[in-house]
């Protein structure tokens, strides 16, 4: 009996040591500890790239270490449902994405979080939807594309990242605005859709501006779903210019757990404001095709609420959710 206990003892001790992580020492002044920045998507994707671009400047303005960790899965839902259960002490934040944080709680029975549980700190970038075709494609302009799609309903395939995403909604909005029928093909991430267009397995991609910049020598952008043209893509007309009211894309920012004190949220917002005004960060964001946004907590929250209404109305109209 005794030997058995002895045998199990080291194992138990080590399990306990691993499971019981000592709680951090509480200090008076914020910030006094490293900041944990959760990325909810795969390394190498847009969210990760943004965090990595910010990392150096963030450490400089925050004054302590910044630890970037990944909590991946469920289209971001895993990370966000964990964030809303984290301690609201301002040392844990997560990157969050629109429309994901609005659409998931709307479409899923239990996404693990509510949109407004995520306390918006700052929305710092957006990537408008952009319609691209292969360089060799017969479609030179959006008009060519729409004309063909009108004559061949359902034949034109448009790849994009995931279902019920900004890419998916952008495609639906285009169908509505132009009165055409396209076939949307979801891929698991904006990166995985790229080979499908390069190999000409789909007619076009509804993707993010970043992808159009990345593959600018292989893709031909037809139109971008932003209000104004983007600086890095000056020759690409907006859908609006061409007479189609399609404005859609993904917005990315950071959020804190519910109940995080306002002074801490404001402090972090100031830090991110400085980060996004850092020349090096601005340069890299632009190079990679991101559109920089400067939305502080109040503005970001108002923006999320406005988008919630808009998406709810759109989904109801499409019959994807019940009124």
């Amino acid at each position: 009996m005794k030997t058995k206990v002895l045998r199990i003892l080291p194992f138990l001790l080590m399990v306990i040591a691993v499971l019981v992580i000592p709680p951090g020492v509480q200090a008076g002044d914020y910030p006094s500890k490293p900041l944990t920045y959760i990325v909810c998507f795969n390394p190498g994707g847009e969210s990760d790239l943004t965090a990595r671009i910010q990392e150096k400047a963030l450490e400089k303005y925050y004054g302590h270490d910044v630890i970037i960790t990944y909590k991946i899965g469920g289209g971001g839902a895993i990370g966000w449902s964990e964030l809303v259960r984290s301690k609201p002490d301002g040392y844990t934040i997560a990157g969050d994405n629109l429309p994901h944080i609005i659409l998931q709680p709307l479409m899923r029975k239990n996404a693990g979080y509510n949109t407004l549980d995520l306390k918006q700190i700052y929305i710092f970038e957006s990537t408008p939807d952009i319609l691209v075709v292969h360089k060799d494609s017969q479609f030179k302009t959006l008009q060519d594309f729409i004309k063909y799609a009108k004559e061949h309903p359902g034949v034109v395939t448009v790849g994009g990242s995931g279902s019920n995403t900004a890419n998916h909604l952008g495609t639906i909005l285009l169908e509505k605005a132009a009165g055409i029928k396209l076939t949307y093909i979801p891929f698991s991430g904006s990166g995985t859709a790229v080979p499908a267009l390069l190999g000409k397995h789909v007619t076009a991609l509804m993707t993010y501006s970043t992808m159009a910049v990345r593959y600018k020598d292989k893709f031909r952008p037809l139109a971008i779903a932003s209000e104004k043209r983007m600086e890095v893509l000056p020759d690409v007309p907006t859908f609006k210019e061409l007479g189609y009211n399609v404005v859609e894309g993904a917005y990315r920012g950071v959020a804190a757990p519910p109940g995080t004190p306002d002074h801490i949220v404001n402090y972090l917002a100031d830090v991110f404001d400085k980060v996004m005004h850092d020349p090096e960060v601005i340069k890299k964001m632009n190079e990679n095709g991101f559109k920089i946004e400067y939305m502080k907590p109040a503005e970001a929250t108002a923006f999320v609420k406005q988008k919630m209404k808009q998406y709810k109305a759109l989904l109801e109209e499409m019959g994807l959710i019940k009124k």
Binding site: F11, M14, P43, R52, Y70, G73, A77, P195, R214
Partner: protein, 517 residues
């Protein structure tokens, strides 16, 4: 004229290669390669800590380095990590990374026979060879091979998945029915979470953290490692049996001679690894199993596979390290990551202002060629480190009493399954899979087909539904699955692979009837 320009091209290429070699053999870069390879090996040897994680963790450190040093370090870590997975596969029957699943089939039986060191040396030589083959393909054949990758559309991916499932019969000796049942179970598990197409929530039983589905690593640790730990405890209590270690003189040369005397297996497996690596979405996890299958098919004594012969290790380990170079091919030419760690390396390239594509080979050739050659150097560095490290590790595992070894490994199963997504649900899932794995092992089910199903499930599902959607233009949408000539080739391969075991019967039958006459 044409010939002339070609000659000029090759001279230029030679210059770049020589330049790359000179860049690598500076004290700093060489040190980074060695350090990267060694730390990669250590991480790879720990079940649950994967190449993706190791590379991602290192990214912040590369910011302070110049682009060349940063990339060289990441590449070395990746290469070392894939190789390191063989250690735990051989010594504790648990693949250190999903790329070494097949290494357990023969590696562990060898270790049980006291030939652990021989198994590790075999793995080392094979890994180095495979790694170098992948790098050679990367340097010389990149533009050509990248085009091949693009030919694979959704329909082709579906058939690749089906082909993967046809190797189930040879993964497990014994019951084909049990193999296919296991694979079906694996495919079923892969459907947990958010549907890749349509976004429906499936089989989460109302638990939000299941939205992410079952992570491969979690199932891998649970199914392979936990039953092994339980068995170790059982054996220790009952029979006091431990892993043997026989010191053998000249084992290194003997093994080297044996491995090199069968170049067919090495070359075939390395090519399989390179080709699988090129396909985006398929990586070392599939390559090692396919190579094992083909090695067994080509072998004159297929019945010996699975009993502990070096040939099995040669196949899996050369294939998975060839994936490293192969996976970089679409990355450097098209900007498409061939395997998950490549996606991170892509991010680093972007941050350093290096755009994948032809200019990487022309204007930025100094960096690109140094990086590619450093991968080859990392593969060579693995040899001395692996052989000495392997000897040490084998001895340690055989000396350390079970009562220390078991909790030690136990801790790693917990850390590994937690670290993959920083999620506690994964730890519970891992333990659940451990119980399932333990029960299944007693019922005669091998865990490999389950894991294979889990890997291939999403590939097949995506391919099937995407193809169906693309096929909307036909009156029968499913036609899209079979319209492409490349699909025909893959379908033929599937049929051939599925029928293979029966060819053996046919041959025997013909022989029998002719001798009877």
């Amino acid at each position: 004229m044409h010939l002339n320009s070609k000659l000029l091209d090759s001279i230029e290429m030679l210059e770049h290669i020589l330049g790359g070699i000179t860049n690598i053999f500076t004290a700093k870069n060489l040190l980074l390669v060695v350090a990267g390879t060694v730390s990669g090996m250590v991480v790879g040897a720990m079940p649950g800590l994967t190449a993706v994680m190791a590379v991602a963790l290192l990214v912040p450190f590369t910011y302070t380095m110049d682009p060349t040093s940063g990339l060289v370090t990441l590449g070395a870590v990746y290469m070392g990590c894939i190789y390191g997975g063989a250690f735990s596969a051989i010594l504790i029957n648990t693949p250190g990374t999903p790329s070494s699943i097949g290494t357990t089939f023969d590696g562990y039986p060898m270790a049980r026979k006291g030939k652990g060191e021989e198994a590790i040396i075999t793995a080392t030589i094979a890994s180095a060879f495979g790694g170098i083959v992948g790098v050679i393909a990367l340097i010389f054949l990149s533009p050509l091979l990248a085009e091949v990758a693009l030919k694979f559309g959704p329909a082709e991916y579906f058939w690749v998945g089906v082909f993967g499932l046809t190797i189930v019969s040879s993964l497990v000796t014994g019951s084909f029915l049990k193999g296919i049942t296991g694979a079906a179970f694996g495919v079923l598990i892969s459907t947990i979470g958010i549907a890749p197409i349509g976004g429906d929530v499936r089989f989460t039983f109302g638990i939000p953290s299941l939205q992410g589905g079952v992570e491969l690593i979690v199932a891998l640790i649970g199914l392979f490692c936990i039953p092994e730990i339980l068995k170790m405890v059982y054996n220790d209590v009952k029979t006091q049996e431990v892993l043997g270690y026989n010191k053998e003189k000249g084992v290194m040369w003997k093994t080297l001679k044996y491995v090199l005397s069968r170049p067919g297996n090495l070359i075939r497996s390395s090519i399989i690894g390179t080709v699988v690596g090129i396909l985006p979405g398929a990586g070392g996890n599939i390559a090692n199993l396919v190579a094992y299958n083909e090695a067994r098919r080509a072998s004159k004594e297929p019945e010996k596979f699975g009993t502990g012969i070096p040939d099995g290790i040669v196949a899996t380990e050369s294939a998975n390290n060839a994936v490293v170079g192969g996976g970089m091919i679409p990355l450097v030419t098209l900007g498409i990551p061939g395997a998950p760690p490549d996606a991170i390396i892509y991010g680093v390239l972007m941050l350093q202002g290096l755009r994948p594509g032809p200019e990487l080979f022309s204007e930025r050739a100094d960096i690109t060629f140094t990086f590619m050659i450093s991968l080859g150097v990392a593969a060579i560095v693995m040899v001395p480190v692996g052989i000495y490290g392997g000897r040490l590790l084998t001895r340690v595992v055989s000396i350390v009493p079970t009562r220390f070894l078991v909790p030690g490994i136990g801790i790693f199963t917990i850390i590994g399954s937690y670290a993959i997504r920083n999620n506690f649900t994964d730890v519970f899932l891992m333990i659940l899979f451990g119980i399932i794995g333990f029960a299944l092992r007693y019922l005669g089910y091998h865990p490999a087909p389950i894991v294979l199903g889990l890997i291939l499930g999403p590939i097949m599902e995506n391919g099937l539904v995407q193809t169906y959607l693309i096929g909307q233009k036909y009156s029968v949408p499913w036609l899209a699955l079979v319209v492409d000539p490349l699909s025909w080739i893959l379908i033929a391969l599937c049929i051939f692979s599925f029928m293979w075991p029966y060819f053996g019967y046919l041959k025997r039958f013909i022989k029998l009837s002719s001798t009877n006459r």
